[in-house]
Amino acid sequence: MKFVPRVSLFVTCLIDQMFPQVGIAMAEVLERLGYQVDFPEAQTCCGQPAMNSGYPEEARKVACHFLEVFRDAEYVVVPSGSCTSMITHHFAEIFEHDSKRCEQSLSLAPRVWEFSRFLLDVACVDDVGARFDGVITYHDSCHALRELRIKDGPRRLLAKVQGLTLREMEAAEECCGFGGTFSVKFPEVSGGMALTKIDSIRKTDASAVVSIDSSCLMQLAGVIQRAGLPIRTMHLAEILASR
């Protein structure tokens, strides 16, 4: 009988709590491609919020839990660039004085995949049979762009979506201003950064802005809503799940 590859979803705490439709969309796309998808229920968070706020000890605790939950996973697929890079690039750093956990991190890291990269490099597909009518623009989320070097991948996937037109915005690579607790501690600066981004989005006349990070989309959605603009914020997974 044929072998069915199994992927474990790490949906991230943000998506789990606030944008579950993104996780569901990702699971749908993966299943459509023939993967068996599981959701280890003990999953919570990668620890990034504590790390970024200057609490590495708390981040370590949460990261330890993550390592346990996903220890035996063959593939961990994550609908977030920043969470993926936390796991693949920063776990080894935060465990630098804990050789056992460091080794576990290094062993897990190659099995952890940001969603778009999983599709292109593991599933080896760029066309998932999606359909989405409209003009969209793409926001390059910072960790994905600079730490994971994800730039062309999502664009390749979007190019194969029927009915979709991708129009690049000028400030595609500029930060949206979220930065986790940064948006809470420095709301005026964070908001100012988001406004600059929204300005750039508007110039494309796109009806939606797409990203692989829900945190960015959440940040942009807040400003869009306050400005009363007809722009949707959509995760790449939602676009790819559309038919």
Binding site: V4, R6, G34, C45, S53, R146, G179, M193, T196
Partner: protein
């Protein structure tokens, strides 16, 4: 611990003229840099960065050795080296020399190091005229302001500001055409160059094997400062060292391009001591003032000492979305932008501007363009944890710490986390934030396989699948690998 100057931030952000000035100046520098380091123009760019990082790492880790070499070569070429632990000592030295020589006029070329130690104020208190000669710095000196940007110090001022300023301070008619304003400054400063007793510069690089100071500029004021007066004093932080003249091939290829997009700035001066026998002009005396002012403190930290690799190109400022919103004057020290954010707490102590390491979204744009590959976001994170530890020691920030402790506990007790989330949704179904969680739990339940946490039972998978998801797309189909 003082809070961030959020009101000042708001003012700057609300000032649309200023925002436009900052945005367009930095945009210009961003584009010029990008074009200068593009694959077709500088294919070796990433290698050069690696190389520069390694040279700086090596030099910083053997600074005592190279400082000795530098000193002996400066002396061999007829110059003198003065080590200054503090900024005050710099002013003290210059004042005593000026007194000895009967000097009354000093001309200065652009030097962030002298800004750092408030050199001009210290000298002027003793009634020695000291004139900035870089056009932007000259304007700022007349306006009594500090630089807005490492490379473009007066980017926040308009031609009208300059016209008004010149007419008020130089007694000239109010001229608003920049070319004419420049002519006014040129004429005024030429007089100063030609009558100055002492020329004070900074140094972009100190070359150990040559006892030399390298100055990089576009206007010619550094050349005049070092060629017209009889005495040249170069003031430089000890971290400016590079081992050999040949290493300039790496650094000069990176500096101009990273700063302004120029492969080479208009003038690059390689100066080693007073004029030699037979040379017709040049200074008779040369002094190299080496400044510590806390740099040796940074040297002691193996993780953060990479902050000393900085070659002051300003690229991190240009690319920083936070700098581009709040501008240079909202940073607490003379060094602004990402580099300012990492060195200020290290020089001034972590508690003085405790908010500064947090004033970043950690986007990483700075690290991407830093020619010497300083890991700025990583250092910001390190500084953040130092702030929280310091707060704990001082009995502050207890609520936040407790919050994160509770959060970490919750995140390591998933069953309680999930029940709380679904409880939250039951109690306030209208709350969109918590509402989906319980629906989510059900959805996940539908998707989750019972293989979680258990050993692989691959031969059972097909049967399990079709049994559990009879109504869902994909269920009932025979298992496949790869794309459908």
């Amino acid at each position: 611990m003082p809070d961030a100057p959020t009101q000042a931030f708001q003012q700057t952000i609300a000032d649309s003229r200023l925002q436009l000035a900052i945005y367009s100046a930095t945009r210009r520098l961003i584009d010029h840099r990008a074009s200068a380091v593009a694959q077709d123009r500088l294919p070796d760019y990433q290698n050069l960065r690696d190389h520069a990082n390694r040279i700086k790492k090596h030099t910083i880790e053997h600074l005592d050795y190279y400082l000795e070499q530098l000193e002996s070569n400066v002396v061999a070429h007829g110059g003198q080296v003065v080590f200054c632990r503090t900024g005050d000592e710099v002013a003290d030295f210059v004042l005593s020399l000026a007194k000895e020589r009967g000097a009354s006029l000093i001309v200065k070329s652009k030097s962030m190091t002298t800004e750092e130690v408030h050199f001009n104020e210290a000298i002027e208190r003793h009634h020695i005229e000291t004139v900035e000669t870089d056009l932007g710095e000259y304007i700022l000196q007349l306006a009594h302001q500090r630089p807005y940007h490492i490379v473009a110090p007066a980017l926040h001022l308009t031609r009208y500001d300059v016209g008004e300023l010149f007419s008020k301070t130089l007694g000239v008619p109010n001229e608003t055409v920049p070319e004419n304003q420049t002519k006014i400054a040129r004429a005024a400063l030429r007089e100063k160059f030609l009558h100055a007793d002492i020329g004070v510069t900074g140094a972009n690089f100190l070359v150990a094997d040559s006892g030399a100071v390298v100055l990089v500029e576009n206007e010619g004021n550094a050349r005049l400062t070092t060629s017209a007066p009889k005495i040249h004093i170069a003031v430089a932080g000890i971290e400016k060292l590079i081992p050999r003249a040949q290493d300039l091939a790496v650094f000069l290829n990176l500096l101009g391009r990273s700063a302004t997009g120029q492969p080479l700035t208009v003038y690059t001066s390689f100066l080693s001591g007073p004029r030699r026998e037979g040379e017709i002009d040049g200074p008779d005396e040369f002094y190299l003032v080496l400044l510590d002012n806390g740099r040796t403190k940074l040297l002691r930290d193996p993780e953060k000492r990479q902050s000393l690799y900085c070659i002051r190109c300003g690229a991190c400022l240009n690319h920083c979305p936070v700098y581009r919103k709040i501008g240079g004057h909202n940073y607490p020290w003379v060094y602004s932008g990402p580099i300012g954010a990492i060195i200020t707490p290290q020089f001034h102590g972590i508690t003085r501007d405790a908010w500064l390491p947090f004033a970043s979204s950690l986007c990483g744009a700075c690290a991407e363009v830093c020619p010497v590959k300083i890991e700025i976001p990583k250092l910001l994170l390190k500084l953040r944890s130092e702030v929280t530890s310091a707060k704990q020691r001082e009995g502050l920030g207890g609520l936040e710490r407790l919050g994160f402790r509770a959060w970490a506990w919750l995140m390591t007790h998933p069953r309680i986390y999930r029940s709380l989330a679904s409880l939250g949704s039951k109690l306030s179904p209208s709350l969109p934030k918590i509402g989906p969680a319980s629906a989510n739990c059900r959805a996940w339940h539908q998707k989750a396989s019972t293989n979680c946490g258990k050993k692989d039972r691959r031969d059972d998978i097909a049967r399990t699948n079709s049994r559990r998801y009879p109504n869902r797309i994909g269920a009932g189909r025979s298992p496949q690998t790869g794309p459908s």
